[in-house]
């Protein structure tokens, strides 16, 4: 029984130049083992390939699929087979395959990624042969297109566009293919292979940046107010709190964005305007209430004084919920409250007019001023006076165009890395530094966990304006 680790080492060996010098180790058993492992994903893909496409398979793969492990029995054939397997596992070309659910609508994240990548390659690296494959909405369809990409189009770089791919189902075969794969989604489906890279705004980086800012401003006691729509942001923030020992969460509150009563409850709880939080004061007021002739309009809990045990409220909800939140704070006479949030705050509707309580509040975003974006994205009609905002539908388009452009930039940079070995190539990609870009300034492209180092932008709110005050 050969373990998975043994196969892995064997594959590493044959896909590295050093393997040539250790040819003595290429025994019959090892040959068979490696052959089976290499052939397996291609065979699986072949089975999913449409019959009419099978004739168009690249000769290399035709040969692989026809080959038999018994070739390992003969020493000469075994040697040839080794060289052939080396060829199969090499980076041979600049063919890129974007796997994405395109559908019919052209105004989708997938299309924006596709168009921005296509545009980037055309203008900056025409040597790259860019293929796009519509994966449809089920896993078998995904495999069919992957087979086409690998066996027929012979792609060397796979890009998983935004959408639901069931990556957790595909991750095994993607790993077995050992091709550099770029996931353009926040959710990589547990695809933690060394061949996978995530190209997406980096939430961890954003929450860390926000926490750094809070620490700098000595806002140590945090109250977290969130809804189910911002749970991922909150989770990331809480995970990163361990790096900031001075900061602590004093209270957490969750509201339902569709229900006023829950917001009301949240604010009462945040400001401790409940009988349970202020029992003595409440009793006094309730007594007053019972003596008051206008008892119907008297609300003892409402009359309590707000108690703020926090320095800052983290509210990563959207601008709409934020406005309701601030109005509810005002209703309950909260007084000044420092609130910080996420990119969801960015909207004209928030700052026009800006609630007074939000004056000098700040939020973290993954996009800076829109006129800082790479050229092919900033073709949008931007308001010349204010580069903070774009139309709502453009927000989503720009976000995904930026992701697509960023992925194309990285792949383009990767194609210039001199190595035919996939293992070495992915190692080099991992260690790659940013090329010159307005948007991605300096440092490594990917973090240790293969997530793209995406800059985080800190904005401060002033009336009708966003002021960018920090980029990390």
């Amino acid at each position: 029984m050969v373990s998975f680790i043994n196969i892995f080492f064997l594959l590493v060996m044959i896909s590295t130049p050093s393997f040539a010098v250790s040819k003595n180790k290429w025994t019959t058993d090892k040959c068979k083992m490696v052959f089976n492992y290499v052939k397996k994903p291609y065979l699986k893909l072949y089975k999913h390939l449409l019959i009419e496409k099978r004739k168009k398979i690249h000769p290399r793969y035709k040969k692989l699929l026809k080959s038999n492990k018994n070739l390992c029995n003969d020493p000469k054939s075994r040697k040839d087979l080794r060289l052939f397997l080396e060829e199969i596992l090499a980076m041979r070309n600049n063919h890129v395959g974007l796997m994405s659910q395109l559908g019919g609508d052209t105004n989708t994240p997938a299309h924006n990624v596709y168009s921005s990548m296509s545009s980037y390659f055309q203008n900056n690296n025409p040597k790259v042969k860019f293929n796009v494959l519509d994966t449809g909405y089920d896993f078998s369809s995904f495999l069919r297109q992957l087979a086409l990409a690998v066996l027929v189009l012979d792609v060397n770089y796979i890009v998983l566009g935004p959408g639901k791919y069931s990556i957790h189902q595909a991750k095994k075969i993607l790993h077995q293919l050992r091709l550099p794969t770029f996931v353009l989604s926040n959710d990589n489906g547990g695809f933690q292979s060394k061949f996978s890279f995530q190209v997406f705004p980096n939430l961890d980086q954003m929450t860390k940046t926000l926490l750094i800012e809070l620490e700098l401003q000595k806002k140590y006691r945090l109250s977290l107010v969130s809804s189910r729509l911002s749970s991922i942001f909150m989770q990331s923030l809480k995970n990163n709190l361990k790096y900031f020992p001075k900061l602590s969460v004093v209270s957490e509150h969750e509201f339902n964005p569709d229900e006023y009563q829950s917001m009301d409850k949240t604010v009462r709880s945040l400001l401790k305007l409940n009988p349970e939080d202020q029992p003595i004061e409440y009793k006094k007021l309730a007594l007053l209430e019972s003596n008051n002739t206008k008892a119907k309009t008297f609300d003892a809990a409402f009359q309590l004084e707000a108690i703020k045990e926090f320095d800052v409220v983290v509210f990563p909800g959207n601008f709409k919920n934020l406005k309701h939140f601030t109005r509810t704070l005002k209703y309950f006479r909260s007084g000044p409250v420092q609130i910080v949030g996420s990119q969801k705050w960015r909207s004209k509707e928030l700052v026009n007019p800006l609630p007074k309580i939000l004056e000098n509040s700040y939020f973290v975003d993954y996009v800076g001023y829109y006129n800082m974006l790479p050229k092919n994205i900033s073709d949008y009609q931007l308001d010349q006076k204010d580069h903070s905002f774009v139309g709502a539908s453009d927000v989503s388009n720009i976000d995904f165009k930026l992701i697509g452009t960023r992925a194309a930039e990285i792949i383009s940079q990767a194609t210039n890395l001199q190595s035919s070995s996939r293992t070495i190539k992915v190692g080099l990609i991992h260690k790659m530094s940013h090329s010159k870009s307005n948007f991605f300034k300096a440092g490594r492209v990917f973090s240790e966990n293969r997530k793209s180092n995406w800059p985080a932008f800190m904005f401060k709110l002033t009336d009708k304006k966003l002021n960018l005050f920090r980029i990390r």
């Binding site: 309009t297 509707e349 709502a392 989503s396």
Partner: protein, 668 residues
């Protein structure tokens, strides 16, 4: 001879003494004093008659009076009445000169025989003099003056005039003055219709109207009537043999209730009050003026019909609500209704309560009630005039201004709403915010300029209808909008004539421009949405011609609806006089609106409603009702060309949220 001379001298001296003494007596008691001024009360007396009120087709709808009196010239009084009167009261009327010496002699003889006066000797002239100039006190001085004045009166006016004054002014009991009034009140007949039986009974009443009142003491009245009939027979007015026949004829007394005879009693009361304002001190309901009003009989009938058809429903709701009130608080829901023509300003119908018999309090103009949201068109109009737009979006959250915390009836917070949606759903918090933004003073000033005359409290709550107003106040405001900004004063009286037919008052139409026509169209468009999407959606079937607005004050104390077309405005209110809350949330749309709907439905056959036509410089654009961006699935709103919303749905961040669940939610 000498003896005779002595006797004559004594007699002469005695006579001189008697005459002298009498002259002194008369002088001392001023029997001959102030004759002219006393008689002037009769000679210059203006005929009295009830004032009559007519509807817009000049048909009588009611009367106004201090005392019930119908003036009838003597020529129009049937001969039999006069003959009967003279037979009973003064058979020598045409012969004496004011007093009847023979009758006085008869009384004197009777007095000597029986020690008391067995019957009267007063002529009709004397009775008239007594009524107008003297008291009924039986003293010699008064009697002497009565005789003297009667004598003088007959020198001044004709017998015919004396008869006319007598028959029109003497009290006949049961509140009626004059024979025509008595005929109306006892038998509901004109004088030309009364029978000898009835005449004899009525003439008999003159002696003692209270004692012989047939409605109270028929036996006494009949006894008296028999005596009258005897007198009539004696004097040849009737034949002796027909006496019994006449006596035994059946008398058909009619119950007389003035209210039953009034077509629109609340309106007639209102006219009475308006007359006091128009004529001032000159106003006297007994002067027989004729008041020509604007009341439309058909409209009034439909109003009454609509109210009657909802009485049971309102009563059931009342019972249901009573359970939630302390026993001492008795809930009695009342209804008032007003119909006007905004084009002319005329009041077409007015109903001040469920039943005039039960309560004469006119809730249309006497009651001051909180209009609730009915006042909101004025606030939103002000907002539009100040540059706000129907598509402006606001966040609907709870509000607090110092101690004031307005609430929305639906508690619908955590949402957004355009001005248009806030208006047609009648949300309170945005209205308060708008008022705050515009400035309370400015809003209150606008209320006034739109026709609200009741003083408004200087507090934000006034923008939500917290200050009490009359239904007429609201009608003035709504009529200004309905007439596309041209305010025509609401009025009920077209003209007034005196008894002779001379016009003493004619209504002059006063118009003033209080709203620019374009803004009027815009607010009308908003009110149409109230009926198609909003609180009056129930009445959407009428929205082709009518637009309207509901109003409900705190705890459903007052419930209103006002709806109008260019030529018909109808407003209704439901509530209790003791300001009791309705525990179950009914609101204007459940209490007042159904009554309005029934009325409008029935009115389609009476007054053909007109439609509002938007001028060509308006564009209709569909907008998202919450966020105001252009949307094919939205609510169609009329905008002035050039002032339409420009934000397409793709530009709206709100749109992104509503479509995808969150804005820039790429981290799901």
């Amino acid at each position: 001879m000498k003896k005779t001379k002595i006797v004559l001298s004594i007699v002469l001296v005695s006579m001189i003494i008697i005459v002298g003494y009498s002259a002194k007596f008369c002088y001392d008691h001023q029997i001959f004093a102030d004759v002219e001024s006393s008689l002037n009360k009769i000679t210059l007396f203006k005929n009295l008659s009830n004032s009559k009120i007519f509807d817009n087709s000049n048909k009588e709808i009611g009367e106004l009076f201090d005392r019930y009196q119908i003036h009838t010239p003597v020529d129009k009084i049937p001969k039999k009445i006069i003959e009967t009167l003279l037979a009973v009261e003064d058979k020598n009327f045409y012969e004496h000169q004011g007093f009847d010496l023979k009758a006085i002699f008869r009384v004197g003889v009777g007095f000597l025989k029986h020690g008391k006066a067995t019957h009267g000797a007063s002529t009709i002239t004397q009775q008239l003099v007594r009524k107008f100039c003297l008291t009924r006190k039986k003293v010699l001085v008064r009697k002497l003056r009565e005789i003297y004045l009667s004598y003088k009166l007959e020198k001044k006016i004709s017998k015919k005039k004396i008869l006319e004054l007598y028959l029109n002014n003497m009290f006949f009991g049961d509140g009626s003055y004059g024979i025509a009034a008595a005929s109306r009140r006892y038998f509901n007949k004109n004088l030309t219709e009364v029978s000898l039986n009835e005449i004899s009974l009525m003439i008999g009443l003159l002696q003692s109207p209270s004692r012989y009142n047939p409605k109270k003491n028929l036996k006494a009245a009949k006894t008296r009537q028999w005596k009258v009939l005897q007198a009539m027979a004696r004097n040849g007015v009737i034949q002796k043999q027909s006496m019994k026949k006449i006596y035994h004829q059946k008398l058909n007394f009619k119950k007389f209730n003035h209210r039953d005879r009034v077509f629109a009693p609340y309106f007639v009361d209102y006219i009475g009050a308006k007359l006091k304002t128009i004529l001032g001190e000159k106003y006297d309901p007994s002067q027989g003026i004729k008041v020509y009003t604007t009341l439309d009989r058909s409209s009034q009938l439909q109003v009454q019909k609509a109210i009657d058809s909802h009485k049971k429903r309102i009563h059931d709701l009342q019972k249901l609500n009573q359970r939630f009130l302390p026993k001492k608080d008795k809930l009695d829901l009342e209804i008032s209704f007003l119909v006007t023509n905004p084009k002319t300003g005329q009041i077409l119908a007015m109903q001040g309560g469920k039943s005039y018999r039960k309560s004469q309090f006119n809730r249309v103009w006497q009651a001051k009630r909180s209009p609730g949201s009915l006042i909101k068109p004025a606030v939103y109009l002000n907002a539009l005039e100040s540059g706000m737009n129907w598509y402006d979006s606001m966040f609907i959250s709870p509000l607090r201004y110092e101690t004031y915390r307005p609430k929305n009836s639906t508690e619908s917070f955590m949402t957004e709403s355009t001005l248009m949606r806030s208006f047609y759903l009648s949300l309170n918090t945005p209205t308060v915010e708008i008022t705050k933004k515009l400035g309370l003073e400015k809003v209150l000033e606008r209320f006034k300029s739109l026709g609200i005359q009741s003083p408004m409290k200087k507090e934000l709550g006034s923008a939500l209808g917290g200050s009490e107003v009359t239904m007429l106040d609201m009608a003035r405001m709504y009529a200004s909008i309905a007439n596309l900004g041209v305010r025509k004063n609401i009025y009920a009286i077209r003209k007034i004539t005196n008894m002779k037919g001379d016009i003493i008052y004619q209504h002059k139409v006063k118009t003033s421009k209080v709203i620019e026509e374009d803004y009027a169209h815009m607010i009308i468009d908003g009110m149409r949405k109230v009926m198609t999407y909003g609180t009056a959606k129930k009445a959407s079937g009428h929205s082709k011609y009518f637009v309207g607005k509901t109003g409900t004050s705190n705890n459903g104390i007052d419930n209103w609806f006002c709806g109008f077309s260019p030529n018909l405005l109808a407003m209704t209110w439901v509530g209790s006089d003791n300001y009791l809350p309705l525990q179950l949330k009914f609101g204007g749309h459940k209490l007042a609106l159904p009554i309005w709907m029934d009325f409008i439905h029935s009115m389609k056959n009476v007054i053909k409603p007109e439609k509002y036509v938007l001028p060509e410089h308006f564009n209709k654009i569909k907008i998202n009702p919450k966020h105001g961006y252009i949307s094919d699935e939205g609510v169609e709103v009329a905008f002035l060309k050039g002032a339409e919303p420009t934000q397409e749905k793709k530009d709206s961040s709100f749109r992104s949220i509503s479509q995808k669940g969150d804005y820039r939610g790429i981290f799901y």
